[in-house]
């Protein structure tokens, strides 16, 4: 059955969307860019990072574009001083809650968090750095998990579960102690379920998941391959 067409407004412009689409999808189809971090095309949306927040007429609350479905008559604002303010605050909080030392990071120059900070014009954080003590899991033969760089976007969790079907990753702990964990919170290298496919590494927007042996600036990610893979999976059910 063809999806029902509905009309919404994005930044004042009348746009045709399909029922079941999210605000983000409708906006992207209309050629409007909404900044995202935890969203990766091809994976289910998680609403984890709150960068994609938009204003919706009729509610005071900001809503995440990546998880909010469109409705007939919806009026969305994607650019405003208030949104920029909150997006900046969100990225600044991500930067201070772990140890992001870009100058010595494998992902320096190819990092989605770093690029987001630059594009939002962030030159410093309004909050004090937390400087937490965090582990680096080097037990896997080919890959490294560095909790110092993790933003808890859960893209690794979703790539592993949805594209590889291995379900190695999960999120454990609460609040500031939340961490990604492999299997039953055991070292990654001892995981009986990991197939060493590396999809989680490619999905990770930061330097948290990387290939062993990558030096500073050497880790580039191919998220486009994951998106393509997800597309071909959908095409052959």
């Amino acid at each position: 059955m063809p999806q029902k067409k509905i009309s919404i407004r994005i930044d004042g412009e009348l746009v045709t969307a399909l029922e079941g689409q999210t605000i983000l999808q409708a906006a992207q189809e209309a050629g409007k860019a909404i900044p995202t971090l935890c969203y990766l095309e091809g994976l289910s949306p998680a609403g984890a990072c709150r960068i994609c927040m938009v204003e919706v007429a009729g509610t005071e609350r900001l809503l995440p574009a990546c998880t909010t479905p469109v409705q007939e008559g919806l009026a969305v604002t994607t650019v405003s001083a208030r949104l920029t303010q909150y997006r900046r605050m969100t990225v600044e909080l991500l930067l201070i809650e772990r140890n992001h030392v870009c100058s010595v990071c494998v992902s320096n120059g190819h990092c989605e968090l770093q690029a987001m900070a630059t594009s939002l014009g962030i030159t410093n954080t309004r909050y004090w750095y937390d400087f937490p003590t965090l582990p680096v899991d080097m037990t896997h033969e080919r890959f490294v998990l560095d909790h110092n760089r993790c933003i808890l976007c859960t893209r690794c969790v979703r790539a592993c579960a949805e594209l590889e079907g291995a379900n190695v990753w999960d999120v454990g702990g609460r609040g500031i102690h939340t961490r990604v964990t492999s299997d039953l919170a055991q070292p990654w290298g001892e995981s009986p379920t990991c197939t060493s496919c590396g999809k989680c590494v490619q999905a990770c927007p930061t330097g948290a998941l990387a290939e062993k042996g990558a030096a500073v600036e050497e880790m580039t990610k191919r998220t486009d391959r994951l998106t393509r893979l997800a597309g071909s999976k959908r095409a052959q059910p």
Partner: protein, 176 residues
């Protein structure tokens, strides 16, 4: 026209930001006609002077001495610029923050040394528990991230300040 008084300061950093400043190459000649460098590693002055227009500070605050210096600098400076990631975020110097100071010094100067296994105390200020960014100690007027910030970004900023313009946000400046 009165020359603009500029100072540069080197706290806990690697001097890379000062190198980047020198990397403005020939532009330094045009700049020299407009500014006086009144203090810093590049000149002789012993004491930080009063009435400085612009101070560029490289490095994190890592000791009580750094903290006292940055306080005095703030009092005597009109526009204070945090130059580079160490001054802005703590960067590499702050990577020691997870290790208690005594343990750190023991590891580096005793366990890590082949000879002369002794923790230096003479003429070096005692480390604070953390190396931290400038803005946690004093009001910073402009932050220029980068490790180091590109010479062009520093030149552009100085140009803006000299012409009395509000410094333009530089799209090429990034952390790291």
């Amino acid at each position: 026209m009165k020359k603009v008084k500029v100072a540069t300061v080197w706290l806990d950093g690697c001097s890379g930001c000062h190198m980047s400043l020198l990397d403005i190459d020939a532009a330094v000649i045009a700049l020299a006609g407009k500014i006086d460098i009144v203090y810093g590693p590049l000149v002789d002055a012993q004491e930080f002077p009063e009435g400085v227009d612009v101070t560029l500070v490289e490095g994190a605050v890592s000791s009580l001495e750094d903290a006292h210096r940055i306080d005095l600098i703030r009092q005597r400076t009109n526009i204070l610029i945090a130059l580079g990631d160490c001054a802005v975020t703590g960067n590499v110097p702050a990577m020691r923050n997870k290790v208690p100071v005594a343990k750190l010094l023991q590891r580096v100067y005793v366990e890590g040394a082949d000879t002369g296994k002794v923790i230096p105390t003479d003429g070096v200020p005692a480390l604070n528990r953390h190396a931290r960014p400038l803005q946690e100690f004093v009001k910073v007027d402009i932050h220029v991230p980068g490790c180091p910030p590109p010479a062009k970004a520093i030149l552009g900023l100085l140009g803006d300040l000299l012409e009395g313009r509000k410094p333009a946000a530089n799209p090429k400046v990034k952390f790291g």
